[in-house]
Amino acid sequence: MIDWCYPLLVWALILGASTRGVQVLFRGLGPRWLPLLACAATFAPVRGLPLGRWLHGYNANFSIPLVAVLLGVILKPWLKRPLFNEQTDRASCWFGCVAGMSLYPVALGLGPFDLYSVGWQWPGVACVAAILAVFLIWRENSFGLVLLAAGVAWQVGCLESDNAWDYLVDPLYVALSFIGLILLLRQAARKQKPEAPSSSTKLSAAVSNGS
């Protein structure tokens, strides 16, 4: 049952976060509850199936870090401070980029060894992620809790897949991580070289903070 609900909920978050992104790009277009309405649209029936189940045909295995990123974007207008601080955002972006760059070229045929198959083995990928999670929690970085949640989700079987990699990364999360990392690095470079903020800097900061 949970592997039926989970992708539907993630597609709801994707529609909500996309709406929020459009609002940010167009400087607050529409009411702040519009992303929630977009989330609800996922459950609207289309020819006998909820819209989210149609989208489910394109991808059913969304990672837990992606859920964290989407929640941060959608909840931003309702929270006094961001769900995740800059340190957590940075860890999330680096993790997505490194994991994606390690996994996808190999999974698409680079070399004779398939790194994805390690995700079915124990301790394998899950063990590495658990060690990283403990390290990050010790360093008071909330991304460690996200990785811990991914481990719990893997044990519960939230996804259609039982491969540990799918709980840690997915193509959308990796793409967002690359965009986020570029924006964070640009932001850091501009902090080192103080100047009057341009409109593009404000937009970059807004997107990276999910506002």
């Binding site: 199936l49 149609w54 489910h56 394109y58 059913a60 295995n61 398939d114």
Partner: protein
């Protein structure tokens, strides 16, 4: 009807565009399994694999199960060749990936009640080989024959000596390959029978050849079909429990031709005693 688009949409509870390539096999507990591909987006290279089980010999079927095999939106895993039953009770199913990279893999299927758990092993990476046909030669030894999409125009093969966990680098067989699929089968004599297009440039013929060790000294024993500008492709070989060998292939891309023969006929063709073709049931 075992599965069509509507049944697959209903079972898998999602949008699907097409249903295609299917392989049927039985496990040690006599459960019958159907592994088939579906696509939601793009062509066949966007395929995902699904499985369906029958507990009563094919009379009724359990709901389909989606197999998650790729981290990239779980697309581009396809099936074509016959599976291999392993001593462990697992099924070794040759599959291949053809999005960005083109490479052969072996899927390890563990049947439990009416579900499958899966892992997979890559035979080789790159962008050159597709549609492996795996033939067991001993308890831990097997050979995989590969469709070659490169300009080399040769059938390639890989060997394993540890039950499929690791495979040797691909090497050329002394048989041509016009970028087309092959089928192979181990005979009770230990020889290997292969069905292939005996040309480096076209699929205008379908030929049978036999090798004592499955690698060297291939002897052509019959040309089953040969017509200029026609296509004879996608052979599929199995041997029934009564010993009869069944070959099905796409005939001029209009029909499926079924050819049945026995090992005695293969031996006669090898020794040159029999000049006639096998029994044909188009």
């Amino acid at each position: 009807m075992i599965v069509d688009r509507e049944i697959a949409v209903d079972d898998l509870d999602r949008y699907l565009r097409k249903v295609g390539n299917a392989v049927v096999f039985a496990d040690a507990q006599k459960r019958v399994w159907l592994v088939y591909v579906t696509t939601a987006l793009g062509g066949w290279s966007g395929s995902s694999l699904n499985a369906r089980c029958s507990l009563d010999g094919g009379a009724t079927w359990q709901p389909s199960q989606r197999l998650s095999l790729s981290p990239f939106l779980n697309v581009s895993e396809l099936v074509r060749a016959a599976p291999v039953r392993l001593e462990s009770g697992e099924i070794g199913l040759p599959i291949y990936h053809e999005c960005v990279g083109q490479f052969p893999e072996m899927l390890w299927l563990r049947p439990t009640s009416d579900r499958l758990t899966v892992t997979k092993t890559r035979l080789t990476g790159g962008r050159t080989f597709l549609q492996p046909a795996i033939v067991p030669l001993g308890p831990d030894r097997a050979v995989a024959y590969l469709r070659n999409v490169s300009p080399a125009r040769r059938i390639d093969y890989q060997e394993t000596t540890d039950g499929g966990f690791t495979w040797s680098p691909p090497r050329h067989l002394d048989l041509p390959n016009p970028n087309s699929s092959v089928a192979a089968l181990r005979l009770s004599s230990g020889s290997v029978l292969i069905a292939f297009n005996d040309s480096a440039s076209s699929r205008e013929n379908l030929t049978l050849a036999v090798s004592l060790d499955g690698i060297n000294d291939w002897k052509r024993i019959a040309v089953l079909d040969e017509q200029p500008k026609e296509l004879f492709a996608y052979p599929y070989l199995i041997q029934a429990t009564d010993g009869l060998i069944h070959l099905a292939y796409a005939w001029q891309m209009k029909k499926i031709r079924h050819v049945a023969f026995n090992e005695a006929w293969v031996e006669r063709r090898l020794s040159g005693e029999d000049g006639s073709a096998g029994e044909r049931q188009p």
